[in-house]
């Protein structure tokens, strides 16, 4: 983990979830390897039994006229244990397994997928994918172009200490109920809900160029929400725990000390209910990493997707205010603003060793001293920006969220580089005469070119004369992306850096979900603060 240690200033607001990662290795070792878990877990994989069918799919595709093909055997397991108040609400496990075959024929992409794994179905699948590619090729204006990469044979397991599937659901539910009860013990708390989602994603990738990559990833997402109700005044307020989702095993949940923190979450919910309404207007805000990560995701993550900037997502997620032609010169913030993309970051939800094009993952600079210097790219996008960035084979950002999904460019972990002077959250608060400290993820919304955004949070402290003065409620901040990143005038140091993340970053048609993390220290901004309180009804 690039960040450890406890946030200074107001420890009650930040559960200490940052943990060190176990060591490991990737085979073969890349330049900057993400550490691997126990590779022996792959030896007993049921996917191996279907490897010959995947190879058959590649052969059939080539025979049908494909110039390139890759086959992914993908097995997902998901588990969700959720509780409400003192009882279980649901235990659900799901699994999904199938094959996705992607081809290039006559210069166009084709794809077909099925859970039916037998020779006859596989042959049909290949014919279908190639036939569709050939049909679409007639409408292509230029052929799809793949950057040349050397085919890899490799294996990787995401680092974890405890496989979540070895922990009985009852133990999980008991832990959540204990945490819920600890929040419910606070007077004024009416309801608590809590859950843990776990994911196990395993894939075996074969390509017609000879690549063979076997990877296994574990992700967990704990959550807890306390709701306080004041029936007399017709008011209620909810408070979420700020714990982050992680590429990790069950140990992340155990280490998070949910039960210890839950009472604080309950108290916060009650405090929120009685907090003072916010005064709208131009204000100084300090954004805690538990809040800022999502603002980074929306305002920097999405507009630096190259496909998006070039119009490939225009019909759904939108385009980008960043113009690829201005790579290297476009100013999107001041000189304190530096962003690094990194699919090797320990604990990062988008971390893996090779992407779904079979390209080795890496770490690269996206924004340097406030200037846009590079993009998120894949193997088939590399040639669109090569003359601007000099990057040969793309940045390994390809991902498909199921056997049945087409791999395309998805967001890597993108993080804000901490300041060099080692400031803490407390330093930022002390240096602020009049402001608001915002933590946690609230409601969020941003336009389809990523200029205008409005974000809320979970908890809001008014800062007066360098001290936390009183809690506020109904706070949201609204800004233009470029103004916002230009207004950043103070930033925390390495010790205050934290990762936040989401399981469900949406993009594409049909919609696909990507898990991604963003790290940052706390930082200070100038924004337009708005009240999210609706008109009280008569």
């Amino acid at each position: 983990m690039r960040a450890t240690g406890v946030a200074a200033g107001a420890g009650v607001l930040w559960p200490g979830w940052a943990r060190a990662d176990p060591p490991g290795a990737r085979e073969p070792a890349p330049v900057k390897p993400p550490s691997s878990g126990d590779l022996s877990l792959l030896a007993a994989s049921p996917l191996l039994a279907d490897e010959l069918l995947a190879a058959r799919a590649l052969d059939a595709a080539k025979k049908a006229g494909a110039s390139y093909a890759d086959a992914r055997l993908v097995a997902w397991r998901r588990e969700r244990v959720s509780v409400r108040d003192d009882h279980i609400r649901g235990v659900r496990r799901s699994s999904e397994y199938g094959i996705g075959l992607r081809v290039i024929a006559d210069g166009a992409w084709g794809f077909a997928a099925s859970p039916r794994l037998d020779a006859k179905s596989i042959d049909k699948l290949a014919k279908r994918a190639v036939a569709a590619a050939k049909i679409n090729a007639k409408l292509r204006r230029e052929p799809v172009e793949l950057a040349s990469v050397s085919p890899i044979a490799g294996r990787w397991v995401s680092p974890h200490r405890v496989d979540p599937w070895t922990v009985p659901p009852k133990d999980k539910a008991d832990l959540l109920i204990a945490a819920s009860n600890s929040a419910r013990a606070i007077a004024g708390v009416a309801h608590v809900s809590a859950s843990v989602d776990a994911q196990r994603e395993e894939k075996l990738f074969l390509s017609s160029e000879g690549a063979r990559i076997h990877q296994l990833l574990f992700r967990v997402r704990p959550s807890l929400t306390a709701t306080a109700v004041d029936r007399r005044r017709g008011q209620f307020a909810s408070r979420n725990h700020e714990i982050a989702a992680m590429l990790a095993g069950w140990e992340h949940v155990e280490d998070a000390k949910l039960v210890d923190d839950a009472a604080q979450i309950g108290e916060d919910a009650v405090r929120k209910l009685h907090a003072a309404p916010v005064e709208p207007g131009e204000r100084t805000v300090i954004l805690d990493p538990s809040n800022l990560w999502l603002t980074i995701h929306e305002s920097i993550g999405h507009p630096t997707e190259l496909d998006r900037a070039l119009g490939l997502e225009a019909n759904y997620a939108g385009t980008s205010f960043m113009d690829p032609a201005r790579t290297g010169e476009l100013e999107i913030g001041n000189e304190l603003v530096n962003f690094v993309a990194d699919r090797t970051q320990p604990g990062g939800l988008a971390t893996c060793a090779w992407d779904d094009d079979g390209v080795g993952t890496e770490r690269w600079q996206l924004v340097e001293g406030g200037k846009l210097v590079d993009w998120q790219t894949t193997r088939d996008q590399a040639h669109w920006i090569r003359d601007k960035t000099g990057d040969k084979d793309g940045h390994a950002c390809s991902y498909a969220d199921s056997y049945s999904s087409v791999a395309f460019q998805r967001m890597p972990n993108i993080s804000l580089t901490p300041g060099e002077d080692g400031k803490t959250t407390e330093d930022l608060i002390n240096a602020t005469d009049d402001g608001i400290l915002i933590s946690g993820r609230g409601s969020w919304s941003i336009d389809h070119q990523r200029y205008n955004f409005q974000f809320s949070g979970q908890f809001f402290w008014e800062i007066k004369n360098g001290r936390l003065a009183r809690p506020l409620r109904d706070v949201a901040y609204q800004a233009n992306t470029v103004d916002f990143w230009h207004s950043m005038d103070m930033i925390g140091g390495q010790g205050s850096f934290r990762l936040g993340g989401s399981f469900s970053d949406g993009k594409g048609q049909p919609g696909q979900s990507n898990a991604v993390s963003h790290g940052c220290p706390p930082a200070r901004f100038r924004v337009n603060v708005v009240s999210t309180a609706g008109q009280e009804r008569s």
Partner: protein, 443 residues
């Protein structure tokens, strides 16, 4: 490839029910086969033909419940799935809110399967793309879009004797045209259970027209405006209200529908008298699923009648506890309108902002269902009954509750594009005092 017939689906649910060791089982199977194509920069980009299967088993013993979901339908896998659900259930704590599975019941007859739509393939998709791209090329515009189609079979069965089966089809096309300088954008979306409703040429023409008119927008000051919301924009906001129609949240004081003295506000006049919100899965033009994943029947329900709240959705547990009728979250949402063309609505207003659709909508305050989001892909100024200029996109901070109170006029309801599988048919609407809170430079 055809999806499961009723007989084939029943064979699977019978195998699952037959393998049960526990007293209560709820099982379902969903088999889907479909295809899609994306296009952008005036050419196809990616496409696919995809088959998916989802088999779900919920097992309960003594109030301990768990669900296991898989996608393999051979006998051994089905039996293993039941065993997994049973093992998980045995390990789970007792749920004091547990309800036994539903028993045998009647379901509405719904005609939602269209044979021609079930047969669509790569060639049909490409033909639509070709027509859409031709329109954009002729108009010297950039075009992007997405066409998808699918056939689906769903069966639900319980150990208490329920069996429900439905097969349906769906097709949709969304298109965006943009001017080459990136300063104009227009969007059109069509969705139906009949693929024949999709006409890429017509969609692209409308999107192109919007892109051209939306070019070079004028900035209006944020503030309260009379707005003409197209059906898609109405639906984008309305869905938050539909989600809030929950009896338990209301009774527990967690909702806009909560009464300050306890209980809910059912029976109160809360909206304009022109507002009637219904659900009808058997609607001929826009059929929807007649049962839930738990085998509960979706019935014809009137939630709001002439502005008065008549019903809220209510889980079986909460219904049992409170005596209210159990009403699942609806599969179809119909907001009544009047037989008036969108252009007639436009002709009838003196000054208004016309909105094609909203984007990135999020609830800010569940107490008031206050939401935020942005206008997108066609926002215009209407003066003296005519579209006079394009205006810059706005962020709004407003509530569907206010929208349904400030209605000035309703148009002809139409099917809109949704993401969650819910069928929504709503009218365009003229609404006063709609709150635009800031400007966005996005096009």
């Amino acid at each position: 490839m055809a999806t499961l017939s009723e007989r084939q689906a029943k064979k699977i649910t019978d195998t699952l029910l037959g393998a049960a060791m526990v007293p209560e089982l709820l099982v379902s199977v969903r088999d889907r086969s479909g295809g899609h194509v994306r296009f952008a920069r005036n050419q196809p980009t990616t496409e696919g033909d995809v088959e998916t299967v989802e088999i779900s088993v919920t097992a309960s013993i003594g109030g301990r419940t768990a669900t296991a979901v898989g996608n393999r339908s051979d006998k051994a896998s089905l039996e293993a799935l039941v065993a997994e659900a049973e093992e998980l259930a045995a390990l789970s704590p007792v749920d004091p809110e547990h309800m036994a599975p539903v028993g045998k019941g009647a379901y509405l007859q719904v005609e939602a399967h269209d044979k021609a739509t079930a047969k669509l393939g790569a060639q049909d998709r490409a033909a639509q793309v070709e027509r859409a791209v031709a329109v954009a090329n002729a108009a010297d515009l950039e075009i992007a879009g997405f066409m998808s189609h699918r056939e689906q079979s769903v069966a639900v069965a319980t150990s208490a004797g329920a069996f429900a089966f439905a097969s349906d089809t769906q097709a949709s096309l969304t298109t965006t045209c943009r001017t080459h300088d990136g300063l104009g954008s227009g969007w059109v979306g069509v969705e139906s259970h009949r693929g024949s409703q999709i006409d890429a040429e017509r969609s692209a023409q409308l999107a192109a027209e919007k892109a051209e008119i939306s070019h070079d927008p004028k900035a209006l000051d944020p503030g309260k405006y009379v707005v003409i919301l197209e059906a898609q924009a109405v639906a984008d906001l309305l869905s938050f209200l539909v989600n809030a129609l929950d009896a338990r949240a209301a009774d527990e004081g967690r909702s806009w529908f909560s009464h300050p003295d306890g209980g809910s506000r059912v029976g109160e006049q809360l909206f304009d008298t022109s507002i009637t919100l219904r659900s009808d899965p058997a609607d001929k033009q826009n059929p929807a699923r007649p049962f839930t994943d738990a085998g509960e029947a979706h019935k014809i329900v009137r939630f709001i009648r002439e502005g008065v709240v008549e019903k809220l959705t209510c889980s079986r547990f909460w219904a049992d506890k409170t005596g209210a009728p159990a009403i699942p979250r609806p599969s179809s949402v119909l907001l009544d309108g009047r037989d008036i063309d969108l252009l007639e609505l436009v002709g009838g207003v003196d000054k208004a902002v016309m909105v094609t659709r909203f984007w990135y909508n999020r609830v800010l305050d569940p107490r008031t269902i206050l939401a935020t989001g942005l206008t997108r892909d066609g926002t215009f100024l209407v003066e003296q009954g005519k579209i006079t200029t394009a205006v810059k996109n706005f962020r709004y901070n407003d509530s569907p509750v206010t929208m349904l109170n400030n209605v000035l006029a309703l148009g002809r309801p139409q099917r809109v594009v949704t993401r969650g599988g819910q069928v929504m048919v709503v009218p365009p609407m003229v609404v006063r005092d709609f709150n635009f809170s800031s400007l966005s430079d996005a096009v």
